[in-house]
Symmetry: C2
Subunit: 394 residues, 2 copies
């Protein structure tokens, strides 16, 4: 049998990062290529307690079919929490629990994008989301990101010239992969441009709670008087990624379409994990947990940046981060970045070449991404020392 596939997946490839993972699976290789949250930050004991209690009190509630919109008490808690803490969510918004934030990208794309429609994204940006947009045959247009966020002039030029733009995809806090946080002025500017040109915004905020230094900045969604923003939240970095629980707060009309798409996609998100998240958020001290988590990341990021200062500078430069999981490293123009990443693997350290995160194959970058949350301190030291040795040989 000769199989024929849909036009939309003909050219889709598995994530480039996954290919790199194959090297990283070699136990003698230090992997700085993953994106896993630090396991020591998982509230393991609380989750075990909560789950045991659910199975004692009402196991059927965790095992039976549930509703597509998500577990009502969890939706209510998030709604209230996001409103009070972050001024996110209005009377015109609704909330949907999803199977991780990744599903938000899929459901929003499915509900909104026709084939050939344009998605504007920061360049570089998160490969997982870009691949989802690609899987609906969207055309990606990347706008350069600077140390304080997306280039506003370039964004406006894009909005003015491109046709059939449906939304702007942005990660304002500790962007993956660049580590950049968008300034308050730029958050307002992006919102105002979306309003002016009548396009939506998907604001992806998986790392917002992982700020370990600098000043908290409001979400773009907090300005959303016009109903332009689909806010994407996740418990993957603050509770557990394996449980796959995320949530979106977006205009009611959009949520209704996303609910219908989700019904056909997985009926509802694992209800056991929804119950566990709800109990953890409502019965435990979530703020204290976030504080503990920030301490873990602050310490680990500081350790990593110190190693990078000592080993990589001045040949490999990078931008300091205030949160998130990633560091974006720039090679001198004279160095072939792809070759450097391959040589690194041969030297037993694995990083992700920046090209993986570009909107289009022809978009140039000479950077690579390092993750500091997954490796142990020992692995970080070993890996960065190897990269440092390579940098000295430029």
């Amino acid at each position: 049998m000769k199989y024929t596939f849909s036009d939309r997946v003909q050219s889709l490839k598995p994530s480039a990062i996954r290919e790199i993972f194959k090297y990283a699976a070699d136990p003698t290789v230090v992997s700085l290529s993953a994106g896993n949250p630090a396991p020591e930050a998982f509230p393991t004991k609380a989750i075990a307690e909560i789950s045991a209690r659910i199975f004692q009190d009402d196991p059927i509630s965790a095992l039976q079919y549930s509703v597509t919109e998500g577990y009502a008490p969890l939706r209510e808690f998030i709604s209230k929490y996001m409103k009070e803490k972050h001024s996110v969510g209005s009377e015109n918004d609704d909330i949907l629990i999803t199977s991780g934030a990744q599903q938000i990208m899929d459901l929003a794309s499915k509900a909104i994008l026709n084939e050939g429609d344009v998605v504007v994204c920061e360049n570089p940006s998160f490969i997982g989301s870009l691949n989802t947009f690609r899987s609906y045959n969207a055309r990606l247009v990347g706008v350069p990101i600077e140390s304080d966020g997306i280039n506003i002039d370039a964004l406006e030029k894009t909005l003015k010239t491109e046709k059939n733009i449906k939304f702007i995809y942005t990660i304002p806090n500790f962007q993956n992969p660049s580590g950049v946080t968008m300034s308050l002025e730029k958050r307002h500017a992006v919102y105002d441009l979306a309003k002016k040109y009548g396009v939506l915004i998907i604001e992806d905020n998986p790392y917002g709670d992982l700020r370990f230094s600098g000043e908290f900045l409001p979400c773009i969604k907090s300005f959303d008087d016009e109903g332009l923003v689909i806010y994407s939240g996740s418990f993957s970095k603050v509770i557990s990624p394996g449980m796959r629980v995320g949530f979106t707060i977006a205009p009611k009309e959009i949520i209704q379409k996303m609910v219908v798409c989700k019904q056909g996609q997985d009926v509802h998100t694992n209800i056991w994990s929804q119950l566990v998240c709800c109990e953890f958020l409502t019965k435990y001290d979530f703020d204290a947990h976030l504080e503990m988590l920030r301490n873990v990341y602050r310490e680990k990021a500081a350790y990593t940046m110190k190693l990078m200062d000592e080993n990589l500078l001045p040949n490999i430069t990078y931008q300091k981060i205030d949160g998130g999981l990633f560091l974006w490293c720039d090679l001198p123009e004279s160095v072939d970045m792809q070759k450097f990443c391959l040589d690194a693997v041969k030297n037993k350290v694995c990083v992700v070449p920046g090209t993986a995160f570009m909107a289009n194959p022809e978009d140039k970058t000479n950077s690579f991404r390092i993750n500091y949350s997954t490796p142990t301190n020992e692995q970080l030291k070993k890996g960065i020392q190897i990269l440092g040795k390579m940098a000295k040989e430029f």
Copy 2:
């Protein structure tokens, strides 16, 4: 803001059954409209034990990110089990763990269907799958189902005349909603026709293990020398639906495309639930569990059919079932089925009008669906007596 949605979801509506659920939420209404497995059949105690053990031994394995293909030991077990028990799966096949079997319909559609492509289905058929196909703008062509399965002449006529057919969707065991089991001859005939006309088959088998009487029949996938069949399996009816764990066994090339689509959809299926399923399948007596489960359903179905014989016959007829969760009831032609279902709600019993399951709005049916697994025996008695009273007034 005036929102514009993609062409594919413009006309999508929430499942008609969900609308009926609104009536069913009234606690004074007896709901025979659900499709939940009997909660008394869940292996609650085993799941609680297994989960506690995982959290004692290796909690991070249940909470961290995992691979898109699914938990390797679970894939290996299913592979071996399906091969040995059901002769399903060859060297040219691969296996993918999904977030419920519903996701298989979505991933297969996404990988295979272009807009306007045709899906051939039994008429009536499972609304959840039909809505997924519709969400990719597929055109559904329904082929009548008879007491021994799909009408083979009508199927061949359809395959001969329709263009751009990509697959045949079938539920050979205890079909939802009709309760019909396809005969062995027809299973072979469907496979041979698929081969002759070069189309794929999606074989959806969520109820196969719920056979409580009659003779076991082999899956269509067990004849699959040519790589034509995407087999869809589920743990929703034999372990727990709330955990959302399903699996597909299909030709490697197709699985590869589905994996890429799944990566963009939810990264991977809840790993905690995958670990629990794996441990339950490998360390507990799964066959004994299935036997217990069949006893529960056998008893409950017999009780229901006795009530129906006493109350509904001869005015409302139905086909006896050997398994599954549903009974399909036929009204006399003189009775307006839609009005009957509405009147039933007014009389405090909720059933699903057959139109919900038809491939196209213009396809006629005078039947409705009853579920016997969710209500208690007391509710079944009350609900069927009300329907019986209505039937006597025809």
